[in-house]
Amino acid sequence: MPFYRAHVLVCNGTPCILKGSRAVQTALVDEIKKKGLENEIKVVETGCLGISEVGPVMVVYPEGITYCGVTVNDVPTIVEEHLLKGRVVERLVYKERTASHVSAAAASRSREQRVVLKNVGSIDPTSIEEYIAVGGYEAMGKALTQMTPLEVIKAVKDSGLRGRGGAAFPTGLKWELTADAPGENKTIVCNADEGEPGNFKDRLILEGDPHSIVEAMIIAGYAIGANKGYVYIRGEYHQSVSHLERAIAVAREMELLGEDILGSRFNFDIEVFKGAGAYICGEETALLESLEGTRGESRMKPPYPPTSGLHGQPTVINNVETLANIPQIIANGAEWFASIGTEKSKGTKIFSPCGDVLYPGVYEVPFGTTMREVIYEMAGGIKSGKDLKAVLIGGPSGICISKEDLDRQFAFEDLPPGAGALIVIDEDKCIVDIMQNCAKFFLHESCGQCVPCREGTKRLYELFTWWQGGAGSPGDLALAQSLGDVMSVSAKCGLGQFAATAFRTSLPLFEEEYRAHVVDRVCPSGVCKMNNGCESEVV
């Protein structure tokens, strides 16, 4: 293998690509060739470095200098000055906080602990060799050759890992139920249909470290006795799809997928299935329907997928982030994993703060970290120094909290993190406006199968729109509340059950503001039109 004196890691996360990192990379390769440095300097494309707001980003090793906001016009300067003459181009250097492994020159983000994201941004996701070099497929090898399926399940159970998709079901238990269920063709499905607004953590894993998912699925398949895995991936995630498909193809080529993996007599293969953009298909039973080729609508539960899933066979459905923890648990042991986090919430959680924060991005922290730390220390606080009003934890289907709760810890026993989205809302925004926006989303995404959801989402949207137009009446608050209560207990699946959660949890916090809209017909933030419904959108 040739020795390169420098490696240039060019971020190829979706945000950077949108800002032109592909063109920068091409220009860089050309410029390096032009200077005759192609045998000395290696250009590596890598997953998101986590600072996409200043993209396109690149890191030059051995110095570990991070350059941000690099344009094609800057490339000749970087090559001439830094790569040829060894002089750092100061004006482009990123000096803000960033993950310590990304850049030695920048201060490390406080409290960030990378378990799931440890390879993202530091290896080339299209190179299986680099994944293997950082310990990849070692856990799979260990599981397949030195452990029984029962031992694998026990390790996952002992680790205390719980689902990261929002429902927080104990992963080991799910695996055990599936392994014990009678059935010939068991399946493992990775739920990569990351459709909740505000969530973008799975994308980072799929783009930056796709082999970790391949490895985790092989381990899961071995543990539950499945020979087939599916990744149900959001169709819009083009980069994730291509990286994952490439990873699967290379793994097949190297016989890490296929028959008799590493001489263990275990056969396993993975297929990628692209979703068509329906939010409901992130719900596990609707996802299975979609996989089977029928309309994406949720099923009656029970039976749950561990006993009757894909084609009526026992099926495990795990979120991307959940699976990404598995190789680490097997490689480092359940005890190691259980030592991270709080007493009841083990491991780390990836958060994706967005909205009115200074540095939206993806941050991985151990459970027990407070919301204040994530929003103020890591994400840089509220943009333009305003005050925090509310945070939607987990996105529109999550709970709404106010600044009183800033010091609560993220943990299943305190503040449940949902899927990890933190939609941060500053003091200038109107709570009714936010809720109307969320309601519009659910109205659009409701599959229409059950009445509470189909009708409930529509009526909620209608009410919020009336309030915004100053056409509310005093009884509306109680009406909306009871509507939300009914939806939460009678809707068939999670979509309808949680569609009113944000409103129901925000009502006690912002009752005055709601009352101002409904009773006094004024919007304290000055956002709503209050035109007596004259020009409000026809519902």
Partner: protein, 120 residues
């Protein structure tokens, strides 16, 4: 790939080429690449060093560049720093001398006294 041993072999091979990305203490060769250095042939020296390292399969070394050090007359200049040893600066380095420096200083740990400009 048929066994865990195959996996570990790939791992070790690739890890070598990725060592450059961690900042652990290791040997460092610095080539002065100011205008004066380049004019005196620093590019060729750099290429020779990299080629020699490649031939010998040495990866535990960082090769980097620096600007003009003010000793333009003695360019090309090459610094060799090894952990816990003083930095040695060589002057009037040619590609051939560079190869000798890699062999003598880096590998055999014996400083090539005749070409030393400065030790600090």
């Amino acid at each position: 790939m048929k066994s865990l041993e195959d996996l570990r072999r790939i791992r070790e091979q690739t890890l070598e080429s990725m060592k450059i990305r961690d900042n652990a203490a290791k040997c460092k060769i610095v080539v002065a690449m100011g205008t004066c250095g380049i004019a005196a042939g620093a590019r060729e020296v750099m290429s020779a060093i990299l080629d020699e390292l490649n031939k010998r399969g040495i990866t535990e070394v960082v090769v980097t560049q620096t600007g003009c050090k003010g000793l333009c007359e003695q360019e090309p200049l090459v610094d060799v720093c090894k952990p816990d040893q003083p930095t040695v600066t060589y002057g009037y380095v040619t590609p051939e001398k560079a190869r000798t420096i890699v062999a003598q200083h880096l590998v055999n740990d014996s400083i090539v006294g005749d070409w030393v400009v400065k030790t600090q």
